[in-house]
Subunit: 448 residues, 2 copies
């Protein structure tokens, strides 16, 4: 029987990172990664296939990390796991493992809406052929409706718009797009940017039915009208892919994802899980976290891979750090928004600042950066931050993330020694992270 010390099921961000981490921490173990895709799409890059990057083939995860790290690869579907016998069945063949990592990812959520199975309704599948078909279809249509105004929805909307000659409409059921990641003032700005670019943004709007006979013809919405549509894209989130785990008898968590402890171990001592398929707890208070992101998957994979033959790492829970960009407009978030913090029962102090990301503000490439930091009011501990700006947002939000994860207080953030440069950053006198903390300190002091 074929055998490996470590078998990993799944080849996306979680599976690949778990494999490389296992190699780093266990140089002498044999490692086998089994995935069902011949080629794996970079998950966060999928929207950019449409307009910016050009084709699925240009958005592939390379196999070089596998080769360089002496990790075997089998492309096959795993159909069963025998926890007792410690084997998996892949492409009809039994393979023995000592430790198993499940990185089976997620599947697009399908809404309980009549008509979602009409021809011309697309989900966002992490599949090269599917996305090739998606792109082909785009060349034939003129009216696209996107259901869901989260990250996936707005990124697809903008990329589809770039292909030209189409109307693009986003339908969002909540009062604002992106409202699960940002406070209202940031969401409103994002909606303005989308509208300026020519996207019809319908907020506070429910989709009642996708209409058509055989093929999609329109989307009936809660105001009673029907938006004409010859293509519909579902961007309403993802559900953990737990079929294999469930069949194998592994315990599922509250959200139906695979239950894991903080070492990423499942209910079976020899099986770990990480990424979209694994249940997540929040860094804040340990509540269930609904987030599914490749960056979270990678962190969890680094915990799982390191812990296989002896625990050295604990997952402190999901902070939630993400960014998005539409044209030159970017948003980043780390940890809790003000609304989330209040909803979770925290008393908060908030510091918001806005200023140029260069100094002087006429340096080339300058744009205005807005930063909002949310602190717990009694202890001063940083709960989260949000940033709106240009392409500096990706790096800046990770500075905030480091402060959040270190549970820094407003005082510690205010004393954060940053580097500054006219061509690269805001002025040291008005560095946003530091100044937002100072403002919150003033607020806390005036209350006490």
């Amino acid at each position: 029987m074929k055998a490996a010390d470590v078998v990993i099921i799944g080849g996306s961000a979680a599976g690949l990172t778990a494999a490389v981490t296992t190699r780093r921490h266990y140089p002498d173990k044999s490692i086998l990664l089994i995935r069902k895709e011949e080629q794996v799409l970079i998950p966060c890059g999928i929207p950019y296939i449409i307009g910016t990057v050009g084709s699925p083939e240009k958005n592939l995860m390379p196999d070089t990390p596998l080769e360089k790290n002496n990790i075997d690869l089998i492309v096959a579907e795993v159909t069963g796991i025998d926890c007792e016998g410690k084997t998996v069945t892949a492409g009809g063949e039994e393979i023995a493992y000592d430790k198993l990592i499940l990185a089976t990812g997620s599947l697009p959520a399908v809404p309980p809406i009549p008509g979602f199975d009409l021809e011309g309704v697309y989900a966002v599948q992490k599949d090269v052929d599917y996305m090739r078909d998606f792109q082909q279809r785009l060349t034939e249509v003129s009216e696209v409706v996107i259901i869901g105004g989260g990250f996936i929805g707005i990124e697809f909307a903008d990329e589809i718009l770039k292909t030209g000659g189409k109307t693009v409409t986003i339908v969002e059921i909540l009062p604002h797009c992106l409202s699960l990641a940002y406070d209202e003032e940031f969401c409103v700005e994002a909606e303005e940017v989308l509208r300026e670019r020519g996207i019809d943004v319908r907020i506070d709007t429910r989709v009642e039915e996708i209409v058509g006979s055989g093929r999609v013809e329109g989307v009936r919405i809660s105001d009673g009208s029907t938006l004409p549509a010859d293509m519909v894209v579902l961007g309403i989130g993802a559900v953990a892919n737990v079929e294999l785990a469930q069949k194998a008898g592994l315990r599922l968590g509250l959200t139906g994802s695979i239950a894991v402890d903080s070492t990423m171990r499942t209910s079976d001592d020899n099986i770990f899980a990480c990424g979209d398929c694994a249940e997540k707890l929040s860094f804040f208070g340990g509540r269930i976290s609904p987030l599914k992101l490749a960056s979270i998957a990678s962190t969890e994979a680094r915990v799982a891979g390191a812990n296989l033959f002896g625990v050295t790492r604990d997952n402190p829970g999901t902070v939630g750090v993400w960014s998005t960009a539409v044209g030159g407009f970017a948003l980043g978030t780390a940890g809790l928004t003000e609304k989330m913090a209040l909803d979770n029962g925290y008393e908060v102090a908030v510091g918001s600042v806005e200023g140029p990301n260069r100094h002087p503000g006429i340096m080339p490439g300058a744009s205005s950066t807005k930063m909002k930091l949310v602190f717990e009011a009694k202890t001063g501990v940083l709960l989260g931050g949000q940033i709106r700006g240009g392409d500096n947002v990706g790096g800046l939000i990770n500075s905030v993330a480091a402060c959040v994860q270190q549970r820094m207080t407003a005082e510690e953030v205010a004393m954060f020694q940053t580097g500054t440069h006219p061509a690269l950053t805001a002025s040291p006198v008005a560095y946003p992270l530091v100044n937002a903390a100072e403002i919150a300190i003033g607020q806390m002091r005036s209350r006490s």
Copy 2:
């Protein structure tokens, strides 16, 4: 007699930040800032006056923070401090203070080289009229020699080159440019970039004499040759401006800067000092730090301003975080380089990685980012990091700075939850900060 609760001498990064911080922490105190300049240049922006920004008038610190924070301003030279009587003499007038902050900055260092007083030899003065004259002179010359290949030297060289029609030569006495901030491999890359842009870079070269009769004609260097020059720029650093402090009898430190404790208090209980004029201790081991940066000045000013009427903040010492850019090429550093760490007696483990700062690597704006992290080998504590990349370097080096200042271990850095996005950052699978830490962990493990 005129009087203010708090008097601040100096209006650059330290003075302005100290004033605003004082207002934030003491809403009811009267604050008076005295500076000798009618208009204050943004210090780090001075090189960019030449080519990018266009004139000194476009590189001014605004007075709006003073107005908004109800801070009085007097433009006058302070000629004396009476510590006993708690008064300063400004423009011939006596002004009483309760607390005094010295933010008198620094003056350009002048080398012990014959000929530095010839006409056509310029230092980098933080003075609008001086820089206007400097720019005027540039229109009349064709051969510029810059003495010193540190940040100021290379930024001036590149900006002067942009004005066109000139040869520009940098003469650096050390084996490499920028070698007080970066390890050799980064310095070599920077030198290559400067040479590609057309700058003649002479390393390991001492200036013996600036030659000319009345007016500069050339620079004689250690290989015996003389570089022709009709303009010479000194970029060899700065010395603390301590004249007032010394006259007032305040104690000076080992480097001749104003001695301060970790609350930024001088040897007089009612006088604080911050910025270039104040002595600095390193975050690492508390040794004397020679660094003089506006970002450090701002942090120190936030300590001084907060502590005037009751200590709430401690300066943990200077981490040293800085970045520079030449065209699209940027370098950032935080904390100790590998060489500095070794010179200071640390045993180190190093992780270096290189990869694109977008994912996939063909996303617009992608460039290759190289990151090197240096850890103390026994404890795993992060001592410093260096980055070479594009304009993402400014934000990214501040993420490293947060990790350094929190004394995070390699394990903690590897578990750092970062946000990623195709258009803004590296892939989560290969996030440089995390991967460099993993490499160092492997190194530490294989040794033990």
